[in-house]
Symmetry: D2
Subunit: 287 residues, 4 copies
Amino acid sequence: MIATDVGRLLISCPDRPGVVATVSHFLFDHGANIIHADQHSTERGHGTFLTRIEFQLPNLEAQLPDLEQTFKQIAGRFGMEWRLASAAHKKRLAIFVSRQEHALLELLWQHRAGDLKADLALVISNHPTHKALVERQGIAYVHIPVTSGTKAQAEQEQLRLLDEYRVDAVVLARYMQVLSPRFLQHYPARIINIHHSFLPAFVGANPYQAAYDRGVKLIGATAHYVTEELDAGPIIEQDVRRIDHRHDPDDLRRLGRYIERVVLARAVGWHCEDRVLLHGNKTIVFN
Amino acid sequence: MIATDVGRLLISCPDRPGVVATVSHFLFDHGANIIHADQHSTERGHGTFLTRIEFQLPNLEAQLPDLEQTFKQIAGRFGMEWRLASAAHKKRLAIFVSRQEHALLELLWQHRAGDLKADLALVISNHPTHKALVERQGIAYVHIPVTSGTKAQAEQEQLRLLDEYRVDAVVLARYMQVLSPRFLQHYPARIINIHHSFLPAFVGANPYQAAYDRGVKLIGATAHYVTEELDAGPIIEQDVRRIDHRHDPDDLRRLGRYIERVVLARAVGWHCEDRVLLHGNKTIVFN
Amino acid sequence: MIATDVGRLLISCPDRPGVVATVSHFLFDHGANIIHADQHSTERGHGTFLTRIEFQLPNLEAQLPDLEQTFKQIAGRFGMEWRLASAAHKKRLAIFVSRQEHALLELLWQHRAGDLKADLALVISNHPTHKALVERQGIAYVHIPVTSGTKAQAEQEQLRLLDEYRVDAVVLARYMQVLSPRFLQHYPARIINIHHSFLPAFVGANPYQAAYDRGVKLIGATAHYVTEELDAGPIIEQDVRRIDHRHDPDDLRRLGRYIERVVLARAVGWHCEDRVLLHGNKTIVFN
Amino acid sequence: MIATDVGRLLISCPDRPGVVATVSHFLFDHGANIIHADQHSTERGHGTFLTRIEFQLPNLEAQLPDLEQTFKQIAGRFGMEWRLASAAHKKRLAIFVSRQEHALLELLWQHRAGDLKADLALVISNHPTHKALVERQGIAYVHIPVTSGTKAQAEQEQLRLLDEYRVDAVVLARYMQVLSPRFLQHYPARIINIHHSFLPAFVGANPYQAAYDRGVKLIGATAHYVTEELDAGPIIEQDVRRIDHRHDPDDLRRLGRYIERVVLARAVGWHCEDRVLLHGNKTIVFN
């Protein structure tokens, strides 16, 4: 259950004495009760201060504009990047998928179980494969074929749909097309990809074959925000599992699917609960 | 490096609005800069509030008495259990050990490497086995034999030594004697034991044989504060490792040693860095 | 892909010199090529010898009766318990489920992905909840309500269905009814249950609440063969995950579901691939 | 305890029917009882066959020359690479170390505990740092300074010592010098290095800083046989641990030490128990 009176305040600013005192007073003055808070200071208090505060405030949604107005002044004073959000206001996701279904299925499942706190707005695919499956759950499925000749046009249609469906974030659930820089600019730090290796090892195509050829003893998966440089965006989550000589490349692909799905679902869940803060090309996850 | 101007404030109190604001103001007013803070509220803000704050304050040691005096009033107002400590003031440990050396060795090693932030005041054993090893590191080793007839007397001698060496906490590093309730009362929540099973499975003697007989697929170890009821005190840390049919009870004992040593060392380290707070018969570890 | 010419030979017998030589000669003489073999000797060669051999033999299905006939003599000589199976002959499973769907969904999914090498013959539930979901995958769903008064009758109907559908093994995928000893006798070492704790800790009902109350730092799940004594049958697989003070009992239930589903699926998969051998109240898993 | 009558037979050869039957008959005919056997066939029986057989044979050492003589013919027939070894004949190790002690300490400890089945013949270091520590355990310590000008000469002295001490394998326990191709040729697949990253990520110097800069969520260590190409030899073992935003590069170095030491010790232990077979640039570990 997401209570309707729970809010989240996220802040990133140059560290200096008084930040915590000021922010906690602001919340106290407005009748908000802090129920959880995480904070981190880089360079032992001499770099950037980052925090995520979960608070309870009766009638939050109605008070939000007011709160934001007042906080703007504090934020200005301390040079803060910040956002205030109601936990009841779920993020709207679009899932991009190609032929492989495992990452999509996990998200559908976690959504259905109530574990993924998000609205699944629509699924976009360059294949018609999963249409019935997705629509059965009451989610729109749009098939947009992509060829080298039609890619620009396809992206335009995708962007139009994201707009139409008021999408907050895009999840690439094993979507096998590279998105253009132009596309990426529309959703900075809001496009999450799952790469099927423990990055930065095995960047690029066919990482399981590469892992097999190198003879590693663990395979992994990495969820990251997509940036222009391939597989080089800020890492949100990674995990691995042990393999051995009995596993051929097909086994790695099969076993890897089960890491990919959980790593992606964790990253998406954290993003939707406002647990991921950017700091340069890295993430700070308050989970 | 432990900076001499880093302090820690630990608080546990009934939750209510204004606690964070008050505490952070107190620190700000005294010129302290928060460099890390963890907090937890049980029952979503309607139970107990617990926090651990690490702050930087020039000339801390000199100011500590003053800080404590002022904070006493805040603490009284909110019904707080609390303590203020300088990170530079290391806890003094006594290690109790019997014949097995692995847990002792790990603590000596981590101490030597500077990873265990504590003073090893002395080692007490019911065997003379490790005398040379311990003394070589410049640590006192006292051999106090224990038989059923001499146990009370032995404990009296142990308590006298703990007093003489101004010991803050006792680590039972595979010490094979049960301590009396009378002994325990002198060090409430300050005696840490390593039990060689994943508690509450396999309470009591010979847990590896019991694990073998039951055919479990993972074995574990548990570090906990010692209370009167055997193996039932607040758990600080646990870990496990996979085993299979090729492992006989001796293998489990051998493999288990490597879990025991890291689980105990982690728990002791956290205790010494004031990261463990008690909440009923459970611990909250801010690590 | 399961090749149609792959067979499996499983043997358990008193250990003595010559077993391996005899068995490997038998296979060689019949033109079978060993592609994988696992073996284990308890008590360092003086107890029980257990092996699982995967071999390739063209036209296997046709030759199977002949092979079995010949092997019977070897088996008699060495006092072997054994079975010969074609990998192409998939086991037929019945899944028993109550209201919670996660364990069922995982099995459906792994089956659909081709990762669970079995035929899902039917699903039996004491609730109508998952009827549409299951039937959509082309699997029969039978709703058999169970009350204390109708339990014996319900079990009779269940047994009739298992017979009708020629079921080889039963999977209790969070089925919340205790099966009678009479029922169990029909499927010795062929009923797999998932228990939502790291057994033998937290036997019985509501293990997540019990885990929360005890303050453990890891929660787990256990897949085991069902025997008359509750939660005491041979363990096939176990796994755990880390939790901390921020997780309340509902969180444990939620997080635990993701361990339960993978632990059960692994155990069922191994059973279906003839990788699990019984040895007293324990299992030997050649995986 | 290593029984004096336990032998190990390791084989690698082109796969073909009859290999297992022939080898098991050979052992049976000589009165050997197989107590454990692992085998692996690449390409599902159409590539290379690899096996490790542990057997019991009274009076093994005396019979070994005879066994080898007879087996030579079988080996010739099947084109086998093979070796026969008595488990009682421990491998003699040289440990190379620089200033950091953790990997060395773990090996000394495991040796002392009887868990590392090897003879520690000598320790060679480019620093005098650990002389007292090593000699106290009754192990020779030779300080051979290495500068760019004296490297060739230093290696000559090292090789002479390895010869003098009849060393079977060399362990680079955080030895910060690159060995020349000429040196490596003397110990093919018998020099084990620990690299402080999850290879192939972060090849080269300062991997913890690189891991920090990239923002990975897990750090790792890799034990591998040393070949001419830096950090590219056959991987024997790898492991990882989770880190988060609170860990700076120094924390990674500190935490990483505890992965390095166990990964190296596992790899060395497996090598000494003849559990590691080479297959191209990969290893097959029968553990």
